[in-house]
Amino acid sequence: MTGTVSAINCTNCGAGLEVLGGGRVVTQVCGYCGARLDANDAYRVLSVHAGMVRPDTPFRLGMTGEIDGVRHTIIGTLGYVERWGGQEWRWVDHMLYSATHGYAWLTVEDGHTLLTRKVRDWPDASFLTAQTVELVDTRPVRTWRGRSYRYYASSSWEIDFVEGEFTWRPERGQRGSAVSLMPTGRASDMLTYADGGEREIEVTRYFPEAAATFGAEALRPQGVHPLQPYEAKRGKRFYGLWFAAMTVAALAIAMAVTATSGARVTLFHGPPADLPAEMSFEVASTTRPVRLQLFQDLAQSWAEYEMTLTDPAGTVLAQTGRGISYYYGGSGEDAWSEGSRFASLTFEPTVPGRYLLEMAPDQVDPGASRAPLRLTVQEGRGAALWSWIAAGLFAVAFLWTLSAGWRHRMARWKGSDWTEEDD
């Protein structure tokens, strides 16, 4: 517990420094001149780190706040940097002090805030270091307080800013490493094996209320933090049920339309040259469209056909042409194709009765003249395609909503440096 000293003057620059920590504090670093002072030896100067750049954090020394009902004071600030593969990651640790509950850490990382405490009851099995992780073939797992923690990542850090009071002797340029593990499933705390001269095991939890607790300016978290628990967005249940209901409805409509379509009847199947000049077919109902479909198994060729359709009353409903062409090439990822082997003519029947189709080849590529042509007619044709598309889109939206928790967990583990090959 702290003694009676509440302020000192820096023995290097004379600046007044508050003494906020307790009896376990061994180092105080002056925020004005960067002098490291020995709290156990009349605050003599250990070294001076001038020109340190203060990291971006809304928390300041002396701020107080309640964590789990216990008042804590911010007594120290450390800026960390990790460099690897040309990239740089930065985070800030603030040392916290409570007269009754001791010391803890408040971390600011990518706008997220975390709370870390030292673990006394170490997990069984050996202490994990980055070196030991490199040597193992299977993903390291440790059990702590009945829960299994799987390896997440290793990091090598360097301190580049230090200010305030600490229970150890941090200094700029000091290096260390850490190995972190996380439980599988929804739990979102992290077990860290820290090796920075002394070996410690720490447990960290997500602490989004830190800014409000300490009266600091609110932060803007970026991305999903590995420790961030999943919180279902408002209305997720409603939207999930709504998308599910719409999927079922669209499926039902699509199936009903498909089931009630008439049978497909072949009017002609053979070489184009054998096409009869006239073909007729019976239409019983005028409530839904009728489709005439052409299929020709073409390869690198094309064909065009003239079509004249007349209803039972002798009225010409369509006088048109349909072309079929199909070309392809390449192989593997470079494969391509162009055109379609299908063409169709869909019409609204005017009256029930026998309809007349006059059809003849117009221009046919020599290669197409040998390919058999099939002409079918389907009565009571419904536009089920759009219902199928709607059902698909609603199903995707439903699955997207339903998988929000799973996608969050995937995002949390995205930063793991353990590759599947390692498993």
Binding site: G3, G23, R24, V70, T100, G102, Y103, R120, W122
Partner: protein
């Protein structure tokens, strides 16, 4: 209340626990040592400066998995940079033990039988390894401490103002071993376990 009285002010002493060897007079603040049928004045009980406390004498607390603990005595030691508190009391099953509280480091401690005391050549120093009951410990702290105040009832006499050397040793999986050495060659060893301060819950 008891039929024993304070040798300083004559006030009746509180109901004494069977194991009590030292009690402080609630009226005049004297330290009273209990000697068979007699009492002996041992000076004042010292100043217990106001500070937030995790444990208080007479207020039962739950110490995590260890269960309910009721402190009946409280000693404060000054180690220069600050101080720590030691509470003597009993668990629900009547087991007597000490609980040490130092800035959130809460340790439940029991005396080590003399047969299991580590063999140590010379004074303790940081990094030194000792073995007790088949467990290896490494010394993590050595310093001097002064008993500055006490309250309640204690199973042994504490001389306020007396300086003793203490040493803390860390073992596997949070196991702890601590020792106290006095100038007259007396020593005491304790083994213990850490209690998460957030699992210390007041029951009253």
């Amino acid at each position: 209340m008891t039929d024993r009285t304070c040798p300083n002010c004559g006030a009746a002493l509180p109901e004494l626990l069977a194991h009590a060897r030292m009690v402080n007079c609630e009226f005049c603040g004297s330290s009273v040592v209990l000697e068979d049928a007699a009492t002996r004045l041992a000076g004042q009980a010292g100043v217990m400066a106001d500070a937030p406390e995790l444990i208080e004498v007479g207020v039962p607390v739950r110490l995590g998995e260890a269960g309910s603990f009721n402190a009946t005595g409280h000693v404060r030691y000054d180690y220069g940079r600050g101080y720590w508190d030691e509470y003597h009391g009993s668990l629900e099953d009547g087991t007597l033990l000490w609980v040490s509280v130092d800035e959130g480091d809460v340790a439940l401690q029991r005396p080590v039988p003399k047969s299991n005391w580590p063999r140590m050549q010379g004074p303790p120093r940081i990094g030194r390894q000792v073995s007790s009951n088949g467990i290896d410990y490494t010394c993590s702290e050595v310093d001097n401490a002064t008993a500055v105040a006490f309250r309640g009832q204690l199973p042994e006499e504490i001389v306020l103002g007396e300086i003793h050397m203490y040493a803390n040793f860390s073992g596997p999986r949070g196991a702890i071993l601590s020792a106290e050495f006095w100038g007259d060659g007396e020593a005491a060893w304790f083994t213990g376990v850490w209690i998460d301060p957030y699992e210390v819950e007041r029951l009253a």
